[in-house]
Each structure stands twice: as C-alpha cells, then as structure tokens.
Symmetry: C2
Subunit: 347 residues, 2 copies
Amino acid sequence: MSETRNRQWRVARYPEADEPISSALFEWVERSVPEPTDDQFVVKTLYLAPGPALRGYLDVSHQQFLGNVPVGEVMRGRGIGVIVSSKNSDYTVGEYFVGSLGWQDYSLQQPRGKEFVFSTKKISSPLRPLSLELGILGQSGATAYFGMLEAGRIKAGDNVLVSAAAGGVGSAAGQIARIKGAAKVVGLAGSDKKCQWLINTLGFDRAINYKTADLNDQLAKEFPKGIDLFFDSVGGDILNTGLAHISLNARVAVCGFISTDYDPNADTGPINYRNLLYQRATMQGFIVFDYWERFAEAEQALRQWHSSGELIFCEDLSDGLENMPQAVEDLFAGNNSGVKICWVNNE
Amino acid sequence: MSETRNRQWRVARYPEADEPISSALFEWVERSVPEPTDDQFVVKTLYLAPGPALRGYLDVSHQQFLGNVPVGEVMRGRGIGVIVSSKNSDYTVGEYFVGSLGWQDYSLQQPRGKEFVFSTKKISSPLRPLSLELGILGQSGATAYFGMLEAGRIKAGDNVLVSAAAGGVGSAAGQIARIKGAAKVVGLAGSDKKCQWLINTLGFDRAINYKTADLNDQLAKEFPKGIDLFFDSVGGDILNTGLAHISLNARVAVCGFISTDYDPNADTGPINYRNLLYQRATMQGFIVFDYWERFAEAEQALRQWHSSGELIFCEDLSDGLENMPQAVEDLFAGNNSGVKICWVNNE
C-alpha cells in the first residue's frame, strides 16, 4: 500500500435546530492510513452514498437507529471499497466490501457490533459500476423492496402513489410496483424534468410536480377510485394530502418524514389521519434494517430485475471526498435524480 | 295489538358545526302504529342503544357508513324489540329482534337493504336482561372483539392501553385484552369513580383519570417498556400522547375520533404519528361492519366469556323514549359507565 495519507471529515459540532448540513459542521483532517491488528482489516473507500439518515447522526434531539456520531469522530457514511490490508482470514486483500466506511479514504473494519452485522457485505464479483452495489442493489433498493412488499403489501391491480419518486428509494419503489403488476403508478417529484424522467425513463404512468401543481386536484384526477398503496418518505403536507385520497383498505407505507423529521417547529401531524378509520386503512412505518435477515432475497430479486432491464438504476454522481457536505446539502434540497453517490477514490 | 299510538323523534334540522346534540334538533310527534304488508313486519321497541355514531347521522360534512338521516325522517337508532305483527313467515309475532328500530315505539321492518343485512338479527331465546343483546353481546362487544383481535392483533404478554375505557366499547376491549393474556391493561377514563370501577369491577390493572393526571408522565410510568397495543376511540391529544409511548412494532387500533371527529376547527393531527416510523408500528382503522360475516364467531366468544363471568357487562340506563336526546348528550359528555341504553317500552 503506497498511499499513506488518509483524508477524513470529522464532526466539528452538531447543527443548530434549523441549520442545514454544510462543511461548517465538519473538520477536514489528514491522518495516516490505519494498520490492522488481530481480526481487523482496512478498506479503501471507492464510493460513498449519502442518504437522508445522515442528518439524524448529527441531531441529538432525534431518535436514530445507529445513534449520533460523537463530536470529534469521523462522520459515519455507507460506501463500497476494496480491502487493502487484512489480519482476518475471512477478508482477503482485493475483495470488495460494502459497509460503514465513514467519510474517509481508509477505514479500519472489525467484524462485530450492530452496525457491522446489519449493513456490511463482502463482494467477490461485484456488478459494474461498483456504485450499483450501493444503490438499487443496496440499501435504497432493499428499502423500496421491503416497503413495497411488506409494509405496502403490493398486489396486482393496485393504484399506487410514490412520493419523493425521483429519489433513490422512491425511483426503485415505483418501478417495483410496476413490476408487481400495479394498475397505475404515479410519482411525485419537484421539477418537470424529474417528472419527465419518471415517465419516459422509469416507466411511471404519471408524475406530478408537487411544487407547481394543485396536488389535491391532481390526485383526485389521477385516482378517481382512490390510492390503494401510498409509499411515502416525505410526511407533512404531502402525506396529509395523500391520505385524503386513500381507498378502502388502503396501505400507507411510511419510510421517512424528510419534510418534518428535522423541523423542531413541527408540532402537528396530518389531520387526514382520520381517513385511516373512514377507509379502514393501515399506516405502517418500516425500517430496512428490520428485514436484514431477508436481504439476500431482496438482492436476488433486484439483481434479476436489473439484469432483465425491468429495473432501471440512475445515480446522481458527486465528485470527491471534499464535496461530501455539499452532496448532502444537494440531497436535502432535492436536487438529485436517483441515488446520490459520491466518488472518492479510484481502485 | 291494543296500542295505537306511535311516539317518534323526527329530525327537525341538522346541528350547527359546534352545536351539541339536544332535543332542539328533533320534533316529537305521535303517529299511528304501522300495519305490515307483503313481507313486512312490525317491531315494538323495548330498548335503544345510543352510540357515538349518532352524531354522524346528522352531520352532512361527515363521512358516514350509513349516510345522513334526511330531515323530516325518524331518527335512526339501534335497539331490541319484539315482533308484534308480521306478514313475513320468517318473522313470527313474539320473537325478539335486534336492528335499526329508530327513535320510535313501532317500526316497520323489511328484510332488504344494507342496514338490514349488516345489523339485524332475530333472537328466539334472548339472554336477560334483553339489553345485553344490544351491548356486550351486540355491536359494542363485536367492535371490541374485532378491534382487539384483528386491528390490534392482541397476544399474550402485551402491554395494552385502552382509551374511553369506561365506555361501552372500551370496557369490553380492556376485558378482552385481559382474557387474551395481556401482561397489563391500563384504561383511560374521565373521573376517579370510573377509574375505580375499571380496576375493582372490570379487572383492569390500572386506570388513569386523564382529566386530572399528567397523562404523559403517567404513561411513562405505567409503560416503561412501551405500549404494545393501543386501542383508541378518542383521537386528538389522547392519541398523540399515546403514540409517544408505543413500543417497537406496536399496533394502534383506531375505532373512532370522538374528540375531533365532529370538530370543524380541527385541522391538524398528532405530530407523534412519526413514532409509527421510529417504532416500525402500525396504525389501523376498523369498522365493525367490515366483519359482519364473522359476527357469529364474536357472539359465541362473547357469550361464553359472559356466562363464565370473565366478561362483565355494565349498562348505563336512561328512562323513556322522550329522554333519548338527553341520553346522547350524556354520551358525548362522557357521563356513562358501560354501554348507554335507553329503556323505551315494557314487553
């Protein structure tokens, strides 16, 4: 291993209540590349995939599956890398590895702890581009898969609404609905360009620009018989408006509340929760980690759909570890189409 | 049939948005007793059971399973009576009949239509008192039964919270949870007297007077590991506070929103709906009519629990058809313990 420099973003402080994620929260440092001992190994980061959960890692007021990252530590982040040194016979130099690599060039890995168990895997023959393993074949795809099949209980003939449809999870969720025989799949997105992409590239039946359309009118028009399955990761007004149009025995699969999750001033929920009673409907929250024992099933299905061309993957690529804070800002601003990925190093 | 007078409450007008139910909304008239023709029969009303759904029958802004009662018509109401004349060979004079009798002494019945199908039955050998057939063995009991077993998916060891626990449905729901092996059953009620009754008579483990207690503190104390099953018919602040204490994979069974259902100023829901995601929980609305094909199953179970003494029935008896509007006012004021029943006629 010729490289000795390990660039890192470390957490400098937590954001104020309404402060966006930016480089002001992090410290850029250079350390030496770690050396493995015992059963450890070292992974060189190739790509990182910043997701909405990142904000939770820095928000002490917020319940988070993996907990906050302590100030002074390397920022947590999921990525794909290649093993460059190893004292563990199960992990061989040259193998690819997906897991919690952190915002850094080189991470020391040790096979223990909940984070390792839930979200890491070794890949001998990865698909190319390697970023596929982080997106539609990774956590975004698995979230869409279990959300649609389990919380959403998708069935043929369903009329389906997907919010944040141009995002990494939503774009996969809508396509899975189509693959599973939905009668109609409508996506919500924040620009006309994204809407065209959803229809023309991903095969959504319709797409609504929620920023310019009267969403209530459009949903009434697109769903005259009501929404059978609403896959939502936005919450707030979008969830409330969607709830107004659910059908009898509808399912609302909830995988996030990006609109209000980190808003300290949010103190009310959607009044149309009452429609859950009137329509005898179910709203269920889910987190992809709950299904980790079935990840292989999801991966197999996703790989097959991808290889047959039914499931199209789109990534929104940022360039360079130094741009990670900006990549997160873009993500929260809704600037991405598909899974947000940041290139860090060549192999 | 010696009686010729048929006293009736007819709908005079619909209430203003925030106007309570009172006799001002109805007209008291006396008509003659109807005569059956074709396949009709006439039922003499013995008891009526006013429930929270009544308000919906008069509220044009409100989605209602059975629709509004037109102005000028006899007010809709469920009761038990005895068949006093019949032109239908399936319905014999002297048999008892549970169904939509209306707020009147005598009703003309005809075996057709959704209302008849869903909620009527002929009883040859009723339990005594006859009001049992309206309460714990009737719609209140069936609502509690299907709510606990289906939407709530009650299982042994669950920690259960029941709101409006002193009401007809809630009092049965809490007892069914106990019978099904709940580790702990806590009821919410609006007076210390009701709380004592829940514990000492019905066998709830705990009861909280939500009007005087700090509900959030009390729930934290009673549910250190969280609420596994929350059976709610109140909505609003009670639902929101309960949602703050749900456990991982909790179920929230929703059978009403009596606190906000008829409040035209209610425009927000519970902010803690976000806990459905954090706890990967399910909130499901249900309506007892959805299970009408399984009513016999519920009735059999309820009868058995009642006869073994496991399920205690308590009714809150009003006296006289003329007092029906007052009985409804009392119901909405939360003055009743157990199922609200109004005596109308002797046999």
